[in-house]
Symmetry: C2
Subunit: 241 residues, 2 copies
């Protein structure tokens, strides 16, 4: 199975000025691909921090994604941080300058040139008709923070990431969570490989708990689901999906 981690870089998220939607997007998309997202970390725009956390994630997970900090301004420090993570120099990448000039049709200014300063030896992947490529350093994939671009770029290279997707069943239950907790615990003792989620809902009319059952093995999931359904009080089940 493949694992992944996401590093969100940006004071604007931590200070509540901008709401991070890339984490939620990536968690859903990686799940569909069968990649286990195991860590999401949001940190400020500080080179040393970016370096330390990028390196730790790169060592611990198969795929690392970064979000944010690759624009032309002073607070865009992701390229410097990722370079420092792997003791690489930051170099002007001529193929990126060429792409920018083709796109803008005029010579690029210093601020744009800053965006073409990337870790030495990085891979540069052209994606989805966008003028700015995805830069990849070892297993670290560098994405912009702007949600529209993050999503478009990820979508363009999603085929690089894959595993065996999880199958999911949902059971909506009318009882309180504390009333079914013992049934759930017994189920898990029998189906130790099952991923079982139990989520109380406060503002729903028709049910009080959403149960999710997941496995990569459809047969196993079916047996676990059937077992659970047979043990819940019949009138406790509002809906099964």
């Amino acid at each position: 199975m493949s694992t992944a981690a996401l590093l969100v870089i940006g004071n604007e998220i931590l200070s509540g000025k901008v709401r991070d939607t890339n984490s939620a997007y990536l968690s859903v998309e990686l799940r569909k691909l069968g990649v286990d997202l195991e860590r999401i970390l949001t940190i400020p725009d500080v080179i040393d921090l970016i370096a330390t956390e990028t390196r730790a994630m790169s060592d611990a997970y198969d795929f690392v994604f970064t979000s944010g900090g690759i624009g032309p301004t002073h607070d865009d420090l992701t390229m410097d941080g990722v370079a420092a993570a792997f003791d690489l120099d930051i170099m002007l990448n001529q193929s990126m300058v060429d792409r920018m000039e083709r796109h803008s049709k005029v010579p690029i200014n210093d601020a744009m040139k800053k965006m073409a300063m990337i870790p030495d030896g990085a891979d540069v992947l052209d994606v989805g008709g966008l003028w700015f490529p995805v830069v990849v350093v070892n297993n670290v994939h560098i994405f912009p923070g702007i949600p529209e671009l993050f999503e478009k770029k990820f979508d363009s290279i999603r085929d690089r990431f894959s595993g065996v997707p999880f199958q999911l069943r949902r059971i909506y239950v009318r009882e309180n969570e504390s009333e079914i907790a013992e049934i759930l615990n017994a189920l898990l003792r029998e189906f130790s490989e099952l991923m079982l989620g139990s989520y109380p809902k406060i503002n729903e009319q028709d049910y009080r708990v959403l149960l999710t059952l997941e496995s990569r093995d459809p047969e196993y999931l079916k047996r676990a689901t059937d077992t659970l359904v047979s043990r819940l009080p019949a009138d406790a089940i509002f809906k099964i999906e």
Copy 2:
């Protein structure tokens, strides 16, 4: 100044089944209070991980908040993880049992009793008329993952956290970010204490970049804002807030 970190605990967030809104809520509220949120980390429901990350955050920041993992089911492991972080035992807290029984009016079952198992010596804060209190271990504040409860509980104890709030100005600019980047960099050389944010927007009709200027010193902020406005091309400014 006070600093803070948030630990979000839950497979449901990482797997994209539930969208985390507590991070965004807390970032906005702490900002209003003048507390610097410096780290948001989302991890799976694994005791050792919860323990390691809680301890690291507790050592590094003034206030730590956890979100999720305190219900009655098998995957609710936050209390165990926080206890392990500080080498504390998990004990049945009689005052919490009493609260539950007063609320439910009948003897509580084993699943509910699990929710009253908390780290030995923890503080138990009654909040906002809710039957379930906020549990505090050293500087770690343990909150539920359900957004309505997270928000209500935080709101009830917000007075415990405070600092000097930031003042914020926003300038909406019609130019591309790369065209004003050098003006911004020059501004920061003069106003090195200024927090300057620059956020390109793709889908806005009237402007291309939102600039945010922040400082805890209103005078300093005013001087920085006036300086920047005087240097931007007059027709580049769409709006100042």
